[in-house]
Symmetry: C2
Subunit: 356 residues, 2 copies
């Protein structure tokens, strides 16, 4: 057995982020990082630590009237020549710096050092967020031990640029299929070209007017986009099938069923197969813990447009928001980086709030 | 070394076709069939036989004033559970029965049995017609030994349903590229969707009015079709590229350069890359040998709409037509078959014509 990586939770949060980045943890290969996190947290006598696959859950049990969950995924998208991390002019570069090892570093600092928070805290570290939904570690935890995720309020430390982002939009993918009849392309009129017919599908997309509904005080902004198209049999064959994959991002005032119905209606002239869908989450800013947290952060909360795992907390009945130091526009890019001052700022805000 | 297959050229032409079908010769694997053809022809004392890769050329040298080439490819598309051949109700089923081992069987019968034709005859059997143009055996022959293909007139025994089909249309493929800018699909408005933009490309195709020009007395019918489309980065990304592959089938009054210019003009708003092009061939029905052949076959010659290797003869300055017993609509289908009576009928027509 290889010697494990040892994390030093006493490091400043930016340096701890760098240490986390340097332990590669592409989705499915989080074992060494999960081991290191578990090991470091087990040294904290005030925490109860549990392990589930490559997820780690640590909690205080102080009998406080409110419990807050701080959650973050420890996996990253594939490395793109951007590990190990490097610091340049106040910026920490590397895979996962923004999405979201800076958030994970904050969780670890708070877990280790805020020994007597004003609320009980559950720190959730999980795997496989960057891949297919059915591999998601938070989903697995919610099935294996939903009680471990129970809380009055949850904060997901996904990159938001230090702004509270409430809820999230749902996402639905569907295949819209144009059909035709094959023929030799030298006698095209003997067939019916499915790719030509797909022009109608693309016209629906081009003409689409997206809603911008206000939900619980936050303005969401929907979108309907082609994210894939494929068709063709051979260079000399009129194709009999063309599939346009569309992605509908819908505000949390619509259920997945309503979203699917909307897409089916739009593409009434073609076969529509919904391939996956995940409901959104309403903003989650109503309870006392949420209100006090939003006040502590300051500024104006905004709607989260991307789908995040706040929806899983929402499904468990836990209102949840996104708040983290990373920049969501930098996630998954080769030049991914995070500002050291922003990481430290978020940590300080949360530390003050937790201390009450 | 495995014992070679031995062909019996004294069999009736339908049975000889069956024997050819039963020697699998998918493009690239024509060796055993080429060996068998070479072996059978070398037993004919009146022929000079040459071998070039898996192509075989046999010729009479009687000092006749005119020379005619009879050419056919010996390869087939991949077997689709349709070998060995079988006969049912006067139809011979199997891979290559129509395209074009029935034509090859006629060539072999005539080569073996018409010992003193009225014109000198060059029998050309070649490989790799069903695959990329640069592997084509007739192209290789035309480069290695153009003199071996010299003739006053050529007949390609491709399936035409027993009708003389003059010349062939050209074919050009081009990639028409729509571009955009990537963005997360939850914030689609920050990018520009290349698939949505490709709607314009498909609209051009849908609105296209194809020409039907008359060339040397035969009416051609052009066509412009999408034969492929692809685009998409991931299920949550606004794609920055969508490529539509179009196939332009053009009449032989246009050169490949003119065809390319036409396609570039049509898609002026997008990047166009011509990926391959092969010029057509004018009907080739003017010389004395062609005229006498058309008269012998009877009926009304029509234009060949698909591209065939007559274009290669045309490039060598040899007027050429297509004429064979197969049904072009059955080529490449699992249920490919040929009528035994049609094979025998074509053989008889050509035998009479060659005998003068």
């Amino acid at each position: 057995m290889l010697p494990g990586v040892k994390l030093d939770l006493s490091l400043p949060v930016g340096e701890l982020t760098a240490q986390l980045v340097d332990v590669e943890s592409v989705s499915g290969s989080e074992g060494p990082l999960a081991d290191a996190i578990e090991g470091a947290l087990r040294e904290c006598g005030h925490l109860t630590v549990e392990r589930d696959g490559n997820a780690v859950v640590a909690r205080t049990d102080l009998g406080r009237p409110q419990r807050v969950a701080l959650a973050g995924h420890i996996d990253t998208v594939p490395i793109a020549g951007n590990v190990p991390s490097r610091i340049d002019d106040g910026l920490l570069y590397g895979c996962g710096t923004s999405d979201m090892k800076s958030g994970v570093a904050i969780q670890l600092k708070l877990a280790a050092e805020v020994i007597a928070p004003a609320v009980d805290v559950t720190y959730v570290f999980y795997d496989c967020e960057e891949v297919e939904a059915d591999r998601n570690g938070l989903l697995r935890l919610s099935r294996n031990s939903p009680a471990s995720l129970a809380a009055d309020f949850a904060i997901l430390l996904e990159p938001t640029g230090g702004v509270v982002e409430g809820g999230c939009q749902g996402t639905l993918r569907a295949e819209v299929r144009a059909t035709g009849e094959r023929a030799h392309s030298a006698r095209a009129w003997m067939g019916s070209n499915a790719i030509h017919d797909a022009a109608g599908i693309l016209e629906v997309l081009r003409a689409y007017q997206a809603r911008e509904p206000v939900v619980d005080g936050l303005t969401f902004r929907e979108g309907l986009s082609a994210v894939g198209i494929s068709g063709g049999v051979a260079g000399n064959v009129i194709p009999d099938e063309c599939i346009v994959t569309v992605n509908y991002r819908f505000a949390p005032d619509r259920s997945t069923e309503q979203a699917a119905e909307h897409v089916r209606e739009l593409f009434g002239g073609w076969e529509v197969v919904v391939t996956d869908a995940a409901g959104g989450a309403r903003p989650g800013l109503h309870g006392p813990a949420a209100s006090s947290f939003a006040a502590a952060v300051g500024g104006t909360p905004r709607a989260k447009l991307g789908w995040t795992d706040v929806a899983r907390f929402s499904e468990l009945g836990v209102p949840a928001v996104n708040y983290g130091p990373g920049d969501p526009l930098l996630a998954h890019s080769r030049a991914e980086h995070a500002e050291l001052s922003a990481i430290a700022g978020c940590e300080a805000t949360m530390r003050t709030w937790l201390a009450g």
